[in-house]
């Protein structure tokens, strides 16, 4: 029941929000419900919980089954932490029809939690799409100038991808022995070699678009730039994880042979994307675009590590799923505070933040260091394991991927330098009053960064059972 309630609470809160016109009340409802969800998520992550199982569509033998293993737990935790953080950090931003905005955000959260919990392929697909629809409206209504065309591109891209996955699901479903969508029946489906390759390609397209992997990434920087920042945070901290989650939960266990034979291909694509995105990030002047490209680079590393088929790589990714979310969230919040107060995102126009708002500058530096994966920060643990896995797979590829660490240092430190140091620019001069609530959540996030960086065992404990399932036969 706990699993069902974590899905229904955001959904009900969202429906209530549609009728609450008052701005402050809407904020309280959104923050309150998301904090309740966070408490439930902590309970699920640290205490464990029984599956929820009910009949759904009898004629197809599809079941409404929710399960929470280590992989699901870590992503639920990330989702549940992200939403209150986002709500609090952006609570002062000007938005028209705030209640509708918050309601759509909570619908998105329902979809995301559903994706991570679903233990039935059709249910998974259902939530996969449901997470997308509210985002489409959020970006198109509250986004930047070119929002309509950009969001539509994003929508069509991901929708097409998920339709491919739907064919993949039909293909596997038809070949299951007991005609069911359960993940266990999917694993034991009688697929011929050709069918396995086809299904692999169909599923992979959907996940690759969502992550996104080079060359399917073109929707992402534009979408991140044009979305309202709160949505960008959801997109980059949580939503891209859907693609990685899909690979770990469905792609690798279902089609191990096809995954192994295509590992080289996927890893090379991912690494090209990593280096390519890093170089583009160096050239960016817009803070939002810089973080967007940096995010593509980090996701690329994770997807490369997944296909090495090593337990060390899997462990690294499982931790990095969480850490990357926290880090990128921190960076976005800092970028949002700066944009809200100065009205610009161009690094040329910024400078001297350390003199004007030292606390914010320190927080920025903290997240920047985590973005470079310096020791003591959470990303170090994950990326160390990831590089280790790629090295085991192929040392040359590891060398190639290693370049991205240097590049990450270049663009991140360059960003810190341009924003925080130098003389106080005209734009920065506008930043008079520090945004206390946003700084508070940033401190909490930075706390998580260092705690899980120094003592990653917390996260290892949560994910231990997934690793066990995947690698100890």
């Amino acid at each position: 029941m706990l699993l069902l309630s974590i899905l229904t609470i955001p959904f009900i809160a969202a429906i209530i929000l549609l009728f609450v016109k008052h701005k402050e009340k809407a904020n309280y409802i959104a923050i309150g419900s998301s904090v309740v969800i966070m408490a439930l998520a902590f309970n699920i992550a640290f205490n464990g919980v029984a599956n929820f199982d009910a009949d759904w569509i009898l004629s197809l033998n599809a079941r409404f089954i929710l399960t929470a293993d280590g992989l699901a737990k870590i992503l639920i935790l990330l989702t549940a932490i992200s939403f209150p953080v986002i709500f609090i950090a952006t609570s002062k931003n000007e938005l028209r029809n705030r209640n509708q905005f918050l309601a759509l955000m909570l619908f998105t959260q329902t979809g995301l939690l559903g994706v991570f919990l679903a233990g039935d392929a059709l249910l998974f697909y259902f939530f996969w799409e449901l997470a997308l629809i509210p985002v489409y409206f959020l970006c198109s209504i509250w986004g930047g100038e070119k929002r309509i065309a950009i969001t539509f591109k994003f929508f069509i891209y991901t929708f097409l991808g998920s339709l491919f996955m739907l064919i993949g699901i039909i293909l596997v479903y038809t070949n299951t022995t007991d005609h069911s969508f359960l993940i266990t029946s999917f694993k034991h489906a009688n697929l011929t070699h050709g069918q396995q390759l086809a299904a692999f390609a169909l599923f992979f397209t959907a996940f690759a678009i969502k992550m996104p992997i080079f060359p399917l990434h073109t929707w992402q920087p534009d979408a991140y730039e044009q979305s309202p920042t709160a949505v960008t945070m959801v997109l980059s901290a949580v939503m891209v994880k859907m693609g990685l989650y899909g690979i770990i939960r469905w792609l690798l266990p279902l089609f191990p042979a096809a995954a192994a034979s295509h590992a080289n291909f996927v890893i090379v694509l991912s690494l090209i994307g990593v280096i390519y995105a890093s170089f583009i990030a160096i050239r960016q002047d817009d803070v939002k675009r810089l973080i967007a490209y940096s995010s593509i680079a980090h996701i690329g590393l994770m997807s490369a590590a997944l296909f090495t088929n090593t337990s060390i790589g899997m462990q690294g990714v499982l931790i990095q799923l969480f850490s990357h979310g926290i880090n990128v969230l921190g960076l976005w919040i800092v970028a949002d505070i700066i944009e809200q107060q100065t009205g610009t995102r161009s690094m040329k126009a910024l400078g001297g933040l350390a003199k004007k708002q030292p606390t914010l500058a320190i927080l920025l530096v903290g997240f920047a260091l985590a973005n470079i994966a310096l020791p003591l920060t959470n990303a170090f643990v994950g990326e160390f394991l990831i590089f280790n896995a790629i090295f085991q797979f192929n040392p040359w590829m590891a060398a190639f991927a290693g370049v991205s660490v240097v590049l990450a240092a270049i663009y991140t430190l360059n960003m810190v330098q341009k924003i925080a140091y130098g003389s106080v620019s005209d734009a920065t001069n506008l930043m008079q009053v520090p945004n206390k609530s946003a700084q508070f959540v940033l401190m909490v996030l930075l706390g998580i960064v260092f705690v899980t960086g120094v003592y990653p065992q917390v996260l290892f404990n949560i994910t231990a059972d997934t690793l066990q399932q995947l690698f100890v036969k």
Binding site: S59, S140, F152, F155, I167, I170, T174
Partner: protein, 462 residues
């Protein structure tokens, strides 16, 4: 048999109602009550409570699926008349006559769901078509309506001619009008090839494709749908088309073997792919929402043609669900369209601000047409794809289908974008709250079927 008798009687009654009363509201209510009686009569036969039966010499055969489709189509017609009743009043000044026409159409439909003989197929199609020609031209003072009616009549008669020729060929080959199993060669267990039989079936195939507006026999559709009064377009594109599909499947369920399995898996995918192509691609370029919906109905016909692909049990489920999802959503969109003063996409600009509920409903209907989860349209498409895959279609056909589904998202979402993201003052006729409430009924049905599609199938097997 109940449905055929009752619908005929009701048709005759409605013809004379206008002598008794000139109050259109009363006429409308008599029509609706009559329709309820018809639905009950059909349900009575479906459950075996009460049915009038006499020996039709095997001309008609009533089976579960046929009766169930009757119930569904009658119910959809009821919802359609309930929502659009007042709009129908506004066209011409013979309200009661329209209801008589509707009952004759429903009589044609109940023959088409139960025929077991090609002559009955012909009679059913004629009983269905002739009232439709009248409905198309109902707006007598509008030249477009007249043009559409004439065009529909000429093209329709032509295709009926082809149908008759096909039936004559088959009669020539087999000496019977019955839909029997084709004669098998005992040595190979394959049907005996017979030139006249194949030629006849091909002609039937062409004619049925015309009736369901599948490409390349679709050319009449956009003009007729665009020209006829919008309320009647809504009916023609949904209930009538669905009945056409049921008849189409009844003819070819068994007979396609006589055509040769190889011929079938060449001509059918050809028709499906070209229908999807023509419908979707042309819809993208339309400026008028009404015309866009006409092309989209061609595109949706392409998806419904998948039900002809194999004869697994999934086919019936898929077709029934598709008919319900597509018809209700289309009726909903048309019901909104009727309230617009101008049918261009721009006229929807800013609708979400002025009429948030109406915009939400339209979005939901369009989502269902596009096949987005949580609406019935998603499961309709899912069941369809599942059915053809189980029937042994290649993955390429599924990929083509979903590529066109993605194209359809493009044009359906253009309306959504206009409503939500573009500023503007929509030109809308005044809309009563009760009208919106009626649309909510459709929306709720679509949402419930979007989560529990199997609710529809309980009656399919008994």
């Amino acid at each position: 048999m109940n449905a055929i008798i009752v619908s005929t009687l009701l048709g005759v009654i409605m013809m004379f109602v206008s002598w008794g009363t000139s109050n259109t509201k009363l006429q409308r209510n008599i029509g609706l009550v009559g329709l309820l009686v018809l639905i009950l009569a059909n349900i009575a036969q479906m459950n075996g409570w009460l049915s009038v039966n006499f020996d039709t010499k095997g001309m008609l055969a009533f089976n579960a699926i046929g009766l169930y489709v009757n119930t569904i189509l009658f119910t959809i017609t009821f919802i359609y008349l309930w929502i659009n009743g007042e709009e129908i009043d506004k066209i011409g000044n013979h309200t009661a006559d329209y209801y008589a026409i509707f009952f004759f159409i429903l009589c044609g439909i109940s023959i088409l769901t139960s025929f077991d003989n090609l002559l009955m197929l012909f009679i059913g199609i004629e009983i269905l078509s002739i009232p439709l020609y009248i409905l198309t031209g109902a707006d007598k003072k509008n030249l477009f309506s007249n043009e559409a009616s004439l065009k529909y009549f000429l093209m329709g008669s032509f295709s009926t001619g082809i149908l008759l020729l096909g039936i004559a060929f088959i009669y020539g080959a087999t000496g019977s009008f019955h839909l029997n199993m084709p004669i098998l060669n005992p040595a190979t267990n394959l049907p005996v090839e017979h030139f006249l039989m194949s030629a006849g079936l091909l002609l039937l195939f062409v004619s049925m494709n015309f009736k369901v507006s599948a490409a390349p026999f679709h050319f009449w559709t956009p003009d007729v749908y665009d020209g006829s009064p919008t309320v009647f377009t809504s009916f023609m594109a949904t209930v009538v088309k669905a009945a056409g599909f049921v008849a189409f499947i009844k003819v070819f369920e068994v007979q396609r073997i006589a055509l040769g399995q190889n011929t079938w898996i060449i001509i059918l995918p050809f028709v499906i792919v070209s229908t999807l192509l023509v419908g979707n691609i042309t819809a993208v370029f339309q400026r008028s929402v009404k015309r866009m919906l006409a092309y989209s109905s061609i595109a949706q016909a392409g998806f419904m043609l998948f039900a002809l692909y194999g004869n697994s049990t999934f086919n019936n489920e898929a077709l029934v669900l598709y008919i319900v999802a597509y018809s209700l959503a289309t009726i909903g969109v048309f019901a909104v369209l009727i309230k617009m003063k101008d049918y261009s996409i721009e006229s929807f600009n800013g609708l979400a601000k002025q009429h948030p509920a109406l915009a939400f409903l339209t979005t939901l209907f369009l989502f269902s047409l596009a096949g987005i989860p949580l609406t019935a349209g998603f499961f309709a498409k899912y069941y369809m794809l599942n059915a053809i895959f189980t029937a042994g279609a290649g993955i390429w056909l599924l990929v083509v289908a979903i590529l066109f589904a993605a194209v359809s998202v493009y044009y359906y979402f253009k309306v959504v974008q206009a409503m939500y993201f573009v500023e503007g003052l929509p030109a809308v006729h005044p809309i009563e709250k009760s009208y919106e409430r009626k649309l909510w009924v459709i929306a709720i049905i679509l949402l419930v079927l979007g989560v529990f599609p199997s609710l529809l199938f309980n009656y399919l097997y008994f």
